[in-house]
């Protein structure tokens, strides 16, 4: 059976779930390596492909049109898309600025404009269909391992 083609992507966040995931490799890679292959993961490799992905794990919120476009590209090239961590699932805590009062919003406006931020920081589901979610800050480790077992059985 061919290995599952897996991608790991991040947008606006602190990448805590990415770190947790790299720590899960410590104890799980020996079994995962038989069934999955990372074809796109910036934290792990330079040469990356964005096509025919079986599962894409996506951490972080969407802050700009450019990020939204990249997310749609990931969606178009992935069979299953999994939202990883609180920022991807509900846009917090990356979306603190959504909660600011008018005065604070005015204070940050020049940065929002200079770097073309969207008016609000949004969760992934605002832009694409999300098949599975792993909430938590960092992601709920147990839920993540359950998903690995669901899509790559006998692996955890």
């Amino acid at each position: 059976m061919p290995k599952l083609r897996v991608g790991w992507f991040t947008f606006t966040c602190c990448e805590d779930s990415t770190i947790l995931f790299t720590e899960l490799l410590n104890t799980h890679w020996d079994t995962w390596k038989e069934k999955i292959e990372f074809v796109n993961a910036r934290i792990l490799k330079t040469n990356r492909e964005l096509k025919d992905l079986d599962i894409s794990f996506v951490e972080g919120s969407i802050s700009s049109d450019e990020q939204a476009k990249k997310l749609k590209e990931i969606r178009d090239n992935s069979k299953i898309l999994v939202a990883i961590g609180a920022c991807a699932v509900n846009a917090m805590p990356s979306g603190w600025r959504n909660t600011f009062d008018e005065e604070t919003k005015k204070e940050i406006q020049f940065i929002v404009e200079r770097f073309s931020h969207l008016p609000r920081v949004e969760p992934l589901s605002k832009y694409v269909k999300v098949d599975e979610s792993v909430p938590g800050c960092p992601m709920d480790e147990k839920r993540f391992l359950e998903l690995m077992e669901k899509y790559a059985p006998g692996n955890t």
Binding site: C14, D16, T18, L25, L44, T46, S64, V121
Partner: protein, 434 residues
């Protein structure tokens, strides 16, 4: 060959923490542009901390960064304790030290094995290391074992290695179990030979990129990452709370993160700075077993940041073993305090260098103002300078090779973009002069 003209853009520098990019333009053998920028979108933590109660701040600002979350957590706790006049107990200090040792082992381990080692072995990824090659097979397993050692140490001391839930203002909400310490000691002892091998790999690595810059770091006589005063390569000593007044904040218009200079000079913080300035204070066992590698310091070769990190992993193992072997844990609750108005500064050494948190607190215990200075912001100008120097000396190098070398240089600094893009400072924009 590119006949003296070149346009090179690296949109996503890989194998680093977060997003960074580089744009290099060369015309008629002259560099017309060399911009290292951080395209991470700001999350405005400096604004977000305002109007929040002090007890909620440590867990909130830990979310600035996934990988060094526990450094932010401990730095903010230190700043809030300073604002409230709380002096942590000896037990609290020891447990925090173990937590930060775990962080250093795990975080340096990630950088050295997962990000830097593939460059030495000319592989795209650590996961591509050849399982049939004895050396590469062993290194893959070293990576997992060493990182896991740090991970477990931090979980023991703080409850989790990312955003540890147990440390709080005044102490720990939940104390670690003494019954597990023997297991930890033997785990640390088992990874020690693997780390000696790692030191030897980076000691023998021939990558060179020398920079004439200054260095600065927090220094204490036992190489404690959480205590001491700031020292610089020029021999200056500064009280930690006054650190920020020596820094010049520089807005880099094309980057979403700020840069800094130290008294007008380009400087570097992080493992290279720490080992350059304080190697004599490393754990005695580390001094003995890393003696040959330590002869290379002080060093201006930025690739020696990798070697310095490997030596620090050994120090954190040796320091933790020494602490754990004689530790007693008393049932101690976090210090109680009545809230009062005040200003508090916390300075710690995060894996990538000096981290500074400052909070102004009102009489109800609400933060009215916050300031956070992170290591990668402080290194940003030096990173760009190294890239510029390398480009200037290698204008004839083919584009692909140049891209690879640029990524290696950036990786040597081990930048953390999540940290660098958390905040916002309002200052007049001006171009960085080189």
């Amino acid at each position: 060959m590119h006949q003296g003209t070149l346009d090179l853009t690296l949109d996503q520098i890989t194998k680093i923490e977060g997003h960074a990019s580089l744009s290099l333009k060369v015309k008629d053998d002259v560099i017309t542009e060399c911009k290292f920028s951080i395209p991470e979108y700001k999350r405005f933590y400096t604004q977000a901390v305002r109007k929040k109660p002090i007890n909620s701040i440590p867990q909130m600002v830990a979310r600035i960064c996934g990988t060094c979350s526990n450094a932010h957590l401990l730095c903010s706790i230190k700043a809030i304790e300073a604002s409230q006049g709380i002096i942590p107990s000896e037990q609290t200090k020891i447990l925090r030290r173990i937590l930060v040792n775990g962080l250093m082992i795990r975080d340096h381990g990630l950088h050295l094995y997962v990000f830097a080692l593939p460059d030495i072995y000319k592989r795209d990824s650590l996961l591509d290391f050849d399982e049939n090659d004895h050396e590469e097979h062993e290194l893959l397993h070293d990576a997992f074992a060493v990182k896991e050692g740090g991970n477990q140490l931090a979980i023991w001391a703080g409850g989790r290695s990312v955003h540890a839930p147990n440390p709080t203002v005044g102490g720990f909400l939940k104390l670690p179990l003494l019954t597990e310490k023997d297991k930890l000691i033997s785990q640390l002892k088992s990874i020690r030979p693997r780390v000696l091998k790692l030191i030897s790999i980076f000691q023998n690595c021939d990558f060179v990129q020398e920079e004439d810059v200054s260095f600065s770091a927090l220094q204490s006589t036992n190489f404690d990452f959480l205590d001491g005063s700031i020292v610089t390569a020029g021999g200056k000593r500064i009280i930690d709370a006054e650190y920020a007044s020596h820094l010049e904040h520089i807005v880099i218009p094309y980057s979403q993160a700020s840069g800094y200079k130290f008294e007008g000079k380009t400087y570097i913080v992080g493992a290279l700075a720490r080992v350059n300035l304080s190697k004599q204070f490393l754990n005695p066992a580390t001094l003995e077993d890393a003696s040959e590698a330590l002869k290379l310091f002080p060093s201006k070769n930025i690739y020696h940041n990798n070697l310095a990190q490997a030596i620090e992993i050994l120090h954190c193992i040796d320091d933790s073993i020494a602490i754990l072997e004689k530790i007693h844990i008393q049932d101690e609750k976090p210090a109680r305090f009545s809230v009062k108005p005040g200003i508090g500064v916390g300075v710690v050494e995060a894996p990538r260098g000096t981290l500074y948190h400052r909070y102004e607190v009102d009489d109800k215990g609400i933060v009215t103002n916050g300031r956070i200075i992170v290591p990668t912001g402080q290194n940003q100008i030096a990173i760009e300078q190294s890239l510029y120097h390398f480009a200037k000396d290698h204008l004839e190098t083919p584009k692909e090779e140049l891209s690879l070398e640029f990524e290696k240089i950036v990786r040597a600094y081990d930048p953390c973009m999540s940290c660098a893009s958390h905040f916002l400072k309002l200052k007049i924009i001006r171009k960085v002069s080189r």
